[in-house]
Amino acid sequence: MLRIECPWCGPRDMVEFTYVGDGTLQRPAIGAEAGHFDYVYLRDNPKGVHVELWRHGAGCRQHVAVKRDTLSHDILQCGKPGEVTK
């Protein structure tokens, strides 16, 4: 059971969160003509460090950026979206 350090609520069990997905995606700007396909479909599946988003649905409803090792399940860093980078 992962434990995620919500920047707003403190450390909480993962059952309070919903996994959202890759936390490094950049949506093409409004009006942009290209990049939508990559944004919707293309994902890395890294063995090792992954920055991802979890939604604290049973808590503050905020998205939390989590840097996690997909191999060991170690959580390396938690923060607000955009604050956590690979």
Binding site: M1, D13, Y39, R61, I75
Partner: protein, 1019 residues
């Protein structure tokens, strides 16, 4: 029938309470034991040798161990709806009135018909199922017939289909140091950690703490071990920061030091007292963990080593010292290590005859050998047991001398005995350590796997770390407790380690499989529970299944309820030898939770029946219930499906009556469950512009608009109306099903994608009760209670604004919001009031509508009326349809960008021949259409025929999505998706419903059946 009494009970030995006699039955035979017994010790005391039949060959089996590793003594416990199969007799505390039955036997334990399976043993080799069903019989249906009889013959115990009458509980706990296992190392660790002042939890799977100390004649700190245990337990309890949980098995080690444990709160009683759970599931989050899980003794592998009367040596000693039970009177001890000598010594001292000790190790001195010698016990060095002789119980043990390579030499001898106490050495219990991902490694000197470097904040102490003697265990546990406390950030405590002494041990020998007996057959069992023999392991090797994971799955080695606790090591050793490698190179199979079986009831806990899921009720729920409505689930909500006018009114009659009453005069429906999201901020309109396909910047205050949202990939996500309540204030509605999803969608975009937008959004679904008043008399009824002008000029279609009910009334006024929107196609108003006023407002409207025969309607009528109007809903928004498929392609604004805009333009999503929403009616005007039925061309053949006979699949051109019945048109209606459907209006096609053998001619029509010009809602 009665048993012979407690013939194997020693007069004084043991920690049982002889003043408290306990009655129980086994296979219907009444017996007695004492307080402190387990079922296994009581059965042995009563001279019961045969306790079960094996899984595959139905061989007689006796009690093998005295702990959680027991592979044989599985019994069906309790009666009626409390029956529990496959419980281990060694772990069941004896209680008054206990009822247990043996398993896997028919008609009786002593005479089992299927024991003839033994004669066919060579036809039931490893991989039997695989070979049978993947070989010549593959692709036949024969396996179905086989499976039934094989399953019955090779069955485990049977349970009950009755609901479990007992309660189960769940508990969370946090601590600085969790100590798992309360043997000498665990207790030493707990007392050291507790001295730091931090929160300590000490748990153990047995009835009382002490572990091996309960089963040995040891002294600690100069005290007899029982006295020392009492002293330490008292000190831990008095400390105030230690929680002691006996009867609690830590079964799983999860990420970030979360440990799952199950406490058997009332399993020692016939039934739990009121308000007590049978079991409790613990989720323990520990800063630091000390694993003191001990070790499990391994067997030696020789012919017929599964006979009742062949037991693990440590178990024999444990039964004697803890329960005063002598499992045999004339004993042969066979071992590859020093520890088993202690069994001979202790049993000798209690008056049993030690026939001899058969030691597979060569000659050599040793303190423990001297102790045995001093008592006049004979021991044979360099000998191995080769066969247990005797049909239902062991009568003698055949032995052979070994040469220096471990091969048999010389002639076979036999030692008369009624009990063989064997030991293949102790294997650390690595289950929890391995579950963390720590990789076990082989220690050639200690002849066992040891825990690998920790992957979590844990350390192993005592026997589970390969530290086996008592003084070392105490010191190791003590050090682990200090280290854990310090690692958890506590001050390093000042406390002395407990002290004990023990003779120096001579290392064991890595020797498990003994030579074959001379001139006599016999299966050498490795896994007793799954009937896997040494020959099966070698067969797997010959057939190429050489990895331990393949070995496990091919032979079922270690796949029983005991998960190979006494069979994996010898099994892997035999495989290693066959491959010509060291056992360390074969490795172990992966340990996964649970360590021992956990009842599903404990995992479910209290969340069963009506507590399984939350039930969401609208503020008007009580009113609906009083009307006797029939309910339908909508996610977690319950909503009225229809309101039967009497006990005889059918669903169909009711929803048609509700439809006609609404269209004829006035209906009312509870729409609270629709998602409501309050959106505010200077950029709110811009945000809506990005979410919806249509434009929002021109929507004036006091107006509502229908909107459609796409996913990023261009497929329709959801629809609903959004109203502008103020300059920077909007109220969005979503479908009931998608309320949570859309809120998350909005949160994601506001927090992650466009954090620069000055917008806040919050769900207000539960804050507002919502009800719709629909029908030609809706205005007349509503006018009586609201304070605003409802004329079409003042409050036209799609108008919205604040409204007050019963303004200025002495009975109290209700402030709410009114929306002139319509899902039914009638003149309709939707009223939102704060949730607490929901029922009062509803009743006010019921009263106002009484003169118009106001009729409450449920989901069926609501759905029927939306089909009559061709409004799309869940069945059409199926995750594959585009806006254009739904007939709303023109809503997509070309003046702005929005979510899904780009990818909606992809080639396949704008094909002309996509499926489009159309209306469908039966050509005969009578036959009901079926939701989900397939649509094919009119002249499609009735049956495709088989491919073998040259048949071709019949092209499917669409499917029926929603069905209803229009009382106004007086015939069945439906919506469906049909390839290029809008261009085929008026054409006849065919609906096929093979489940009912239906083939119905249907006509494609416009999807709006009633009031196509929309005059009523503008009225």
């Amino acid at each position: 029938m009665t048993g012979p009494g407690q013939i194997n009970r020693h007069a004084e030995a043991g920690r049982i309470d002889r003043t408290r006699r306990i009655s129980f039955t086994f296979d219907g035979v009444p017996m007695t034991g004492f307080e402190g017994d387990t079922l296994a010790s009581a059965l042995l005391a009563n001279g019961v040798k045969l306790v079960g039949r094996s899984f595959k060959y139905h061989r007689p089996r006796g009690i093998f161990s005295n702990g959680p590793e027991e592979p044989n003594a599985l019994v069906r416990l309790r009666v009626g709806d409390r029956v529990e199969p496959n419980t281990r007799a060694t772990m069941i505390p004896l209680y008054d009135g206990l009822v247990a039955e043996s398993q896997n036997r028919w008609p009786s334990l002593a005479f089992d018909v299927q024991a003839v399976n033994q004669l066919f043993a060579r036809f039931l080799p490893a991989g039997f199922y695989y070979k049978t069903f993947m070989g010549p019989f593959a692709n036949t249906k024969l396996w179905m017939r086989f499976e039934r009889s094989i399953r019955k013959a090779a069955g485990m115990g049977t349970g009950t289909h009755a609901p479990d009458p007992d309660e189960y509980d769940k508990m969370s706990a946090h601590c600085e140091v969790l100590v798992i296992g309360a043997g000498p190392a665990g207790i030493a660790a707990a007392r050291a950690a507790a001295a730091s002042g931090g929160r300590v939890i000490l748990l153990d799977e047995r009835e009382e703490i002490g572990g091996r100390l309960l089963m040995e004649r040891f002294q600690v700190d100069g005290l007899e071990s029982g006295e020392w245990l009492a002293r330490e337990r008292g000190a831990l309890e008095a400390a105030g920061n230690v929680r002691i949980l006996p009867r609690t098995t830590a079964f799983g080690y999860y990420d970030q030091n979360m440990i799952g444990a199950v406490e058997r709160v009332c399993d020692h009683l016939i039934k739990p007292p009121p308000h007590q759970p049978r079991q409790r599931l613990w989720s323990i989050r520990a800063t630091e963990v000390v694993l003191a899980t001990g070790a499990i003794e391994q067997p030696l592998i020789f012919a017929d080593n599964d006979r009742p009367g062949v037991m693990l040596a440590g178990a024999v000693r444990g039964f004697a010292n803890q329960y005063g039970v002598l499992a045999g009177k004339r004993i042969v001890v066979a071992a590859n290590n020093d520890d088993a000598y202690r069994t001979a010594i202790d049993l000798h001292d209690l008056g049993a005859t030690i026939e001899s000790i058969v030691d597979v190790r060569p000659k050599g001195p040793g303190p423990i050998r001297q102790e045995a010698k001093d008592r006049g016990i004979t021991y044979l060095r360099g000998y191995a047991p080769v066969k247990a002789q005797g049909r239902r119980a062991v009568r003698q043990l055949a032995i052979l001398k070994l040469d220096e390579n471990g091969k048999a030499t010389g002639s076979q001898r036999a030692a008369a005995c009624d009990l063989v106490a064997m030991s293949g050495g102790w294997q650390p219990t690595l289950h929890l350590s391995s579950q963390t991902g720590a990789k076990a490694y082989w220690d050639a000197e200690k002849c066992c796997f040891l825990p690998g470097p920790p992957r979590q904040r844990e350390r192993s102490a005592g026997a589970c770390a390969g530290v086996f003697t008592l003084p070392e265990c105490l010191a190791h546990g003590h050090a682990a407790g200090l280290e854990a406390a310090e690692a958890a950030g506590l001050a390093r405590p000042e406390i002395e380690a407990p002290k004990a002494s023990a003779p120096q041990e001579v290392p064991p020998r890595a020797y498990w499989e003994c030579p074959d007996p001379i001139n006599t057959p016999g299966k050498k069992f490795v896994d007793h529970q799954d009937d896997v023999a040494a020959s099966d392991v070698r067969l797997a090797h010959r057939e190429g299944y050489i990895s331990v994971e393949h070995l496990k799955r091919y032979t079922t080695l270690g796949m029983g309820t005991d998960q190979g606790k006494t069979s994996n090591i010898p099994g892997f050793a035999i495989m290693a030898k066959a491959r010509g490698v060291e056992i360390g190179q074969t490795g172990t199979t992966t340990f996964r939770p649970p360590y021992t079986p956990v009842a599903l009831g404990a995992l479910a806990g209290p969340e069963v029946g009506e507590r399984y899921m939350a039930l969401r009720r609208t503020p008007m729920d009580g009113w609906h219930e009083e009307q006797g409505c029939e309910w339908i689930d909508a996610g977690l909500w319950r909503r009225p499906r229809y309101y039967p006018s009497g006990p005889r009114e059918s669903l169909f009659d009711a929803y048609i009556r509700e439809t006609m009453a609404t269209r004829g005069s006035l209906g009312i429906v509870d729409v609270t469950t629709l998602g409501k999201i309050d959106i505010q901020g200077p950029d709110a309109a811009e945000f809506l512009n990005r979410l919806y396909i249509n434009g929002w910047k021109t929507l004036p205050v006091g107006k509502a608009r229908y909107g459609l949202m796409l996913r990023e990939d261009g497929i329709v996500l959801d629809d609903g109306t959004t109203s502008r309540l103020g300059e920077q204030h909007y109220l969005m509605t979503t479908t009931t099903a998608n309320a949570v999803r859309i809120m998350a969608w909005i949160d994601y975009h506001l927090q992650v994608v466009w954090p620069d937008l000055r917008v806040k959004a919050v769900s207000v679904t539960e804050q507002w009760a919502a009800m719709a008043l629909a029908g030609p008399n809706a205005r007349k009824a509503l006018e009586k209670v609201v304070d605003i002008d409802l004329s079409s000029e003042a409050f036209p279609f799609m108008a919205c604004g604040p409204a007050t009910l019963n303004k200025g009334s002495a009975a109290g006024e209700i402030k709410g919001r009114l929306f002139r929107i319509s899902f039914s196609g009638e003149l309709a108003y939707e009223l939102n009031v704060p949730a607490d006023y929901g029922r009062a407002a509803w009743e006010m409207l019921m009263q106002a509508g009484a003169e118009f025969d106001i009729t409450p309607y449920g989901m069926e009528a609501l759905g029927n009326m939306r089909i009559e109007k061709g409004h799309v809903a869940g069945p059409e928004l199926d995750g594959r349809t585009t806006a254009d498929d739904l007939g709303m392609g023109r809503m997509m604004s070309s003046k702005k960008d929005f979510i899904g805009a780009k990818l909606a333009g992809r080639e396949d999503l704008i094909r002309a021949d996509r499926k489009q929403v159309v209306g469908l009616v039966p050509v005969d005007g009578k036959t009901k259409l079926r939701q989900g039925a397939q649509l094919v061309e009119k002249d499609a053949p009735a049956e495709a025929g088989t491919l073998a006979a040259g048949g071709k699949p019949i092209p499917m051109i669409g499917n029926v999505t929603s069905t209803g019945y229009s009382p106004e048109l007086d015939h069945p209606i439906a919506l469906g998706l049909v390839v290029n459907g809008r261009a085929r209006l008026g054409e006849e096609i065919s609906m096929r419903y093979p489940l009912r053998g239906l083939s119905v001619p249907v006509k494609i029509v416009e999807p709006v059946f009633v009031d196509p010009k929309g005059e009523r809602l503008h009225g």
